[in-house]
Each structure stands twice: as structure tokens, then as C-alpha cells.
Symmetry: C2
Subunit: 234 residues, 2 copies
DNA sequence: GAATAACTGTGTCTGGCAGACACTATTTAT
DNA sequence: ATAAATAGTGTCTGCCAGACACAGTTATTC
């Protein structure tokens, strides 16, 4: 990842452009990223190819390589463009309320751009906007007796939970129309093999389908953090 | 996903084989999956192609399609083979200790097969072994006042956390040799833009690098569950 | 025992993909 | 005016998943 990493860092963090000698660029990183996002939003990340992105912009595939070193970097730009920034800080809110709002907003990003789940797997460079999300959590937990690494760990914990829920929600969602929701497959399977999964079968018996997995986990995490904070600050 | 889903279900849950008319199959699902796992373990999931898997078994690519409908199903079999089963239940352990052991063991699976992170993104059918992991969590939480859906949510919460940590650990790991660990890139970036990320910069200043993110999140989650359980059972 | 039907493994082909490279046209610096 | 750097293009290679037709093999059926 050596060189590619630096290229990605340059694109995500570097200066916006440099005036130079040859012809003026007709495209821009922003337009290219937006085209990629449009395709991913409608057809999924798998449908994003240099060809398709270029076609949407009425350019040839190879012209994109004048702006972006490769597809990985294009996806990085798409992520940064789609994830947006964290919600504005509302003064007077406690850390719990701030983190709750943060989680709901992040979940909304994943719902609007489900392909973000696919695009953010594996080692990659985070852009400024993405880092902004982390910043918010760490800032919200400032001054409550947690160490620096602990605040970072809390941010990762929260982000991981939202991500996990988003993945589950996507699986349960009917992507096209005649698609089998994954849970509709899982349920019968569990009951069919109830001998092997007695606890699951029992747990799934009460079909209230409340769909509050995000809130449940969030409350547990915040309760856990509160326990720690109380212990630390006396 | 309509038809593919059913095919995947048949492969993962169906009967092992059916005696039939033609020549005896020289291969087996198990051998094919094992070959795929071997490639993924050494070269990553991206290096797994029908060609490569077949080559490792000294067969042609197309012969694999006699066993597996497509690559997606092959990956599903690989996941089921690599994830293994949950750790054995140790009697006399409380739910907290059981879930702790569960999380550590699951984290080990992700460490041994980092490509599991890539292979378990997106809607997919879970196999019996994978479902076994969920079963354990739900079973461990039985009889503590939580509803069925709540126990399921707790399982998803725990699994999501372990997954998130595994992803972070992989990013921090030097995959090849001269690879830049992602955190080694992130640190300088944050400090370089400390004005935009003051809380992050401060949090990262204390460089103790204890690497206990798994434990931290786990304790918070378990504390949060304990709070709920105490509230429920009085 | 012979015919038949079902199955296994193979070879060939298509369409799509990322990306390397050489080329032309354009614009600015000297 | 000329040279250098750059933007967009067209062509080419190699890899990929998968469709399909084929030849060889084996159990079933007559």
C-alpha cells in the first residue's frame, strides 16, 4: 500500500489544485466523485467501473486516470463525498445526548448510501470529513475522566455498532423487489433446525419485530460508558 | 438474490451428497472450500478466483461449476469452513464470563482469517456454524430477564464490536512488509491538522499504545447489559 | 447384456474489468 | 516563436466470471 497510500492522502488531504501549463482540465475530482456516488447509489458499488463513471460524464475511461491514480482512490473520494460531515454540535447537550444524535445521523448516512458499507471495508485512508466523525465523539467525551485512548476506543465502539446495525438493516431490506429478505430465510432455517439452535428458536419465537436494534445497542453502550464515567469522576 | 439464496441455502444446510448416476465426483465441497481458504489466507480474498482455486486442486476452472453455482457460493462455503464453531460451553460460568470468552474466540477467528472481514460484508446466508455463534450468545443470556429480540440484539451488538475491532486491528497491522500501517499515517495527519481535530489530537497525544480496544468495548457492553439485567431482575 | 439417461470434467467463447502506453491537441512559460 | 507540460483519446494486454457444447463415464432400465 506504500505509494498508493500517499496518493490517496494527497487526493483527500492535499491542496485542491495547482495552476499548471497544459490545457485546462475539463473535469474535477468533485464531479468525478459525484458521478461515482450516483452510480453506487442507484446500482450498488459493484456497478461502479471507470467505464461507467466516465460514460456518465461523457468522457472516456482513460481520461479519469488524469485525475485519479486508480479505482481505489476513486472509491476513497466517493466515500468522503458521501459520508458528509458529522451533525453540528448543539451546545448545552450532555455527552449522552450528543452521542445519541451522532449515532442516529451516522446511521442515516449508511441508509442513504448502503454501498458505504462495502466501500469502507479493509485498510484505507480516512478523509477529513470521515475523521470529523471521530473527532465529534472524542470531543463529546472530553472532560469526563476518560483517558485519550479510552475516548478513541469509545468512538470505535460506537462507530462499529452503527455499522453493524446498518449491515443488518441492509440485509433485512428488500433491495430489488422480489428479493428474499435474508431474515425471512433465516427464520425458517432456525426453526427447521430448532434442535441445534434451541436458544435462537426460543428468542425468535416472540415475533414483535420492533426493529430497535440500533437503539438497544446504543443504550447498552452509553450505559456502559456512564458506569465507567461515574466510577472515574466519583 | 432470489435463486442464488436458495442455492446457497442448499449448499450450506442441505444434505451432504446424493448418490447418482454419472461418474463419481473427484472433488468435494470441502476440498474446494479448503483450497479457497488456503488462497485467501495467504494472498487475501481478492486473490481467490475460480481459476486459482481450480489450479490449486489440479482441475480446470469450469469443473468447479459442477459443485458450486458461482463464486458467491464458494465464498459462503469458505466462510463457513473458516469461521469454525463457537468455543465449547463451560458449565458453571456466568453469562459475563461466557460472553467474554466468546468474544475473544471470535476475535481470534478474524485474526487468523482476516479475509473473513471482506467475505462477510453485504447480505448473505449464514451457515450452521456461523449461526452457532449467535446461538451461544442468546443461550448465555437466557433467563436473565431479557426478551427474545433483546437477546438477539445483544448478540448483534457483541458480534459487531468484535468485527469492528478486527477491522481496526487489520488496518494497523503491517500486511506485507514495507507497508505503511494506517495508524502511522493517521497520527501525523491529525497532528498536522490539529486545528481541525483538537480533541483527536489531544486524545492521541498520550501514546501508550495499549491496544486494548477489544477489552474496552467489551467491558462497556457487558456493563451496559448488566445494568439492564439488574434493572429487570430487580 | 445392451441401450439409455444422467452426470463429470474439459475446451472454447463472450463480455466486462483495470490499467499500461503511445499519440494528438492544447496551453503556458521561456 | 519555440519548447515543455498537460488533457483527452485509442489501442492493447491480461485477468475475471460464467455460458455452452462436447466427450467420456457410470448407474439404471429393458
Amino acid at each position: 500500500m506504500g505509494e498508493e497510500t500517499n496518493e490517496a492522502v494527497r487526493l483527500l488531504w492535499g491542496p485542491p489544485a495547482k495552476p499548471s501549463r497544459g490545457p485546462k482540465p475539463a473535469l474535477s475530482l468533485a464531479r468525478i466523485a459525484a458521478a461515482g456516488v450516483e452510480i453506487a447509489d442507484t446500482e450498488g458499488l459493484g456497478a461502479v467501473s471507470m467505464q461507467k463513471v466516465a460514460g456518465l460524464l461523457d468522457f472516456t475511461k482513460m481520461s479519469l486516470y488524469r485525475y485519479v491514480p486508480g479505482k481505489a482512490e476513486l472509491v476513497a473520494l466517493m466515500v468522503e463525498a458521501a459520508v458528509g460531515g458529522p451533525p453540528p454540535v448543539v451546545d448545552g447537550l450532555g455527552w449522552r445526548e450528543q452521542l445519541t444524535a451522532w449515532a442516529k445521523q451516522l446511521a442515516r448516512s449508511f441508509t442513504e448510501h448502503p454501498w458505504l458499507l462495502d466501500a469502507t471495508v479493509g485498510p484505507r485512508v480516512m478523509g477529513p470529513k470521515e475523521l470529523g466523525w471521530l473527532e465529534r465523539v472524542v470531543a463529546a467525551l472530553d472532560g469526563h475522566g476518560l483517558t485519550g485512548p479510552e475516548r478513541m476506543d469509545a468512538a470505535v465502539l460506537l462507530a462499529g455498532h452503527v455499522r453493524g446495525i446498518a449491515e443488518q438493516a441492509r440485509a433485512a431490506r428488500p433491495d430489488g423487489s422480489p428479493e428474499t429478505e435474508l431474515l425471512a430465510v433465516l427464520g425458517p432455517l432456525v426453526h427447521q433446525h430448532a434442535d441445534r439452535f434451541p436458544a435462537l428458536a426460543a428468542a425468535m419465537a416472540s415475533q414483535d419485530g420492533r426493529d430497535q436494534a440500533l437503539d438497544f445497542g446504543l443504550e447498552r453502550i452509553l450505559d456502559g460508558l456512564e458506569t465507567l464515567i461515574t466510577r472515574r469522576t466519583g
